[in-house]
Symmetry: C2
Amino acid sequence: MVKRVMAGPLKDFVVRMMTTVDVSAEDAATVADVLVAADLRGIDSHGVARLRRYVEGCKTGLMKPRPNIRIEHEGPCSAALDGDSGLGKVISRKAMGIAIAKAQASGVGVVSVRNSNHYGIAAYYSMMALEHDMIGLSMTNARARVAPTFARTGFYGTNPISVAIPAGEERPYVLDMATSVVPEGKLEVYNRLGKSMPEGWVVLEGDQPCLEPAQGLAMLRGERMGGILPLGGLGESHGGHKGYGLGLMVDILCGVMSGANWGPKINTVTSNNLGHFFAAMRVDLFQPVAEFKAEMDTMLRTLKAMPKADGHDRIFVHGEKEYEAHDRRSVEGIPLNPRVLDDLAKLANEQGVAFDL
Amino acid sequence: MVKRVMAGPLKDFVVRMMTTVDVSAEDAATVADVLVAADLRGIDSHGVARLRRYVEGCKTGLMKPRPNIRIEHEGPCSAALDGDSGLGKVISRKAMGIAIAKAQASGVGVVSVRNSNHYGIAAYYSMMALEHDMIGLSMTNARARVAPTFARTGFYGTNPISVAIPAGEERPYVLDMATSVVPEGKLEVYNRLGKSMPEGWVVLEGDQPCLEPAQGLAMLRGERMGGILPLGGLGESHGGHKGYGLGLMVDILCGVMSGANWGPKINTVTSNNLGHFFAAMRVDLFQPVAEFKAEMDTMLRTLKAMPKADGHDRIFVHGEKEYEAHDRRSVEGIPLNPRVLDDLAKLANEQGVAFDL
């Protein structure tokens, strides 16, 4: 049975759990805020279902509970951060905060991050820019599982890009996309449901369509050559080389440029050394905020009022579904399925925390 | 018969032609450089085959031969440009130059442009950053012809994104992609060849596959509802909403943010008022240039050495094919087909210029 839990108690639980592994109350609150933001937004794959990963990460030493996050180089609109193998969410919130502060002073802020770990939903950080009337950008690299065009196996990760742009009365535009056709979590969902995957998501040995999620997951575990396809699919006929280009760009900006790992060097078992890239840009560099927001509203309303394809009564702006999920789940609670609840209860027991959800 | 023409005389011809419509020698040289760069790089659809468009644009007054291009707002790392309806290539080269100068001073430069016209290949401007050891970004909006996910017809343009990143001994990474599955020129090519298009490129009335290029071109002329599909294709199953998100982002950054036209407001008949967005960022904000370039080389070599899919012996890095075309065509000349040559001869005759190609 799915149980609905309110965001407040769920965050409190995460904080209690993270503090058992020596994370400070402040940093634990950050982890809780990012995880529960994912659940509120309907991105269940990146929410509290992953709490075990962070608790165990701190226990095994893969993630340092009390890292020395430091700026290695700094300019009027830039900073290069070393995350000291801390929790990705803590490092990234700090990094995006620096990007925003730089943008407040200079108009634009760009921040690279190395020695980080999994940072959760990309949109959490890009959206931090919105309340400052800035455009936010957030990217991360990830474990190699996407196959470049014409390659036999995976080279880089699902490397998401998130861009958040403020609007006026309309909801902001919030793009948050894996640069692969689908994120890894989709294979797990199809596997659980016992459904075949459509052609064009995953290939084995470079070009053999893989429709069985179990086979795809075996490939992701490294048991077979293959990969998730880049956005645009197999080969070049439908633009697969473009998705591959975007994923590679993310790996360059997050990995090569920051001095983090990239491509097949990313190994989640020993040390992640993931890299991220964040940017913030003030809208009023180009025109007054009120005018920009009014024009955004006009554009988004014009877009949503367009004639629809048969069988559809709505055109969605990016982030709109997630804002609606957030509003709904803030009131009704976050639905947690029994598998997730059991795992959280087990984890609480392991850590000697009373389970009260 | 295809005739091969060397880049030098071809540029000279373009300069002579543009000066007949009151464009200054300097600006005519810019137009020639951008057009012939496209031909050299193998992007024939954006080369001298389009010269008529710019000559006639100046004659009809759509494009001002002597615009007053001015900075409307300026900050330490930003500028908002008004192109005064000049030639897009002249405005954009100037704008990217400003972005680079700002980045030299502050680390990052961002420039928005309004009141511009068609700017040609996006990569011309992003690549200007390379020789300064900077990463370059170039985007433009364009006439509405791409259908958002679930919409019945086109809302925004093929809105390209180009990103150029320096390397060491390897060629730079140069992404230059329409955010649609295919650029508009692809329909023209298939029409000329009398070939059917693959499913997933163009739809009529929101979801009916259009395989006949002639029908697709009629749709682009506004005779039928429909659109080119965003990267990722129809609906959401293969990420069409992501391509739609990227195209919309380009329209917001280039159109809404700059104060230019956007979406269906873009009308090539009366006044373009296209918008662009450019950025430059110094690589040495994050690590020494030499180290960055060495690591880029390692990454690109690792990528190209990967096992290949059956039937393929090469993995391409973005821009590699275009660099190779450039090298080949710089030596062998640019192949111009009879249709293009005839039109250039006719145009020369109309302008009273001796045709010597």
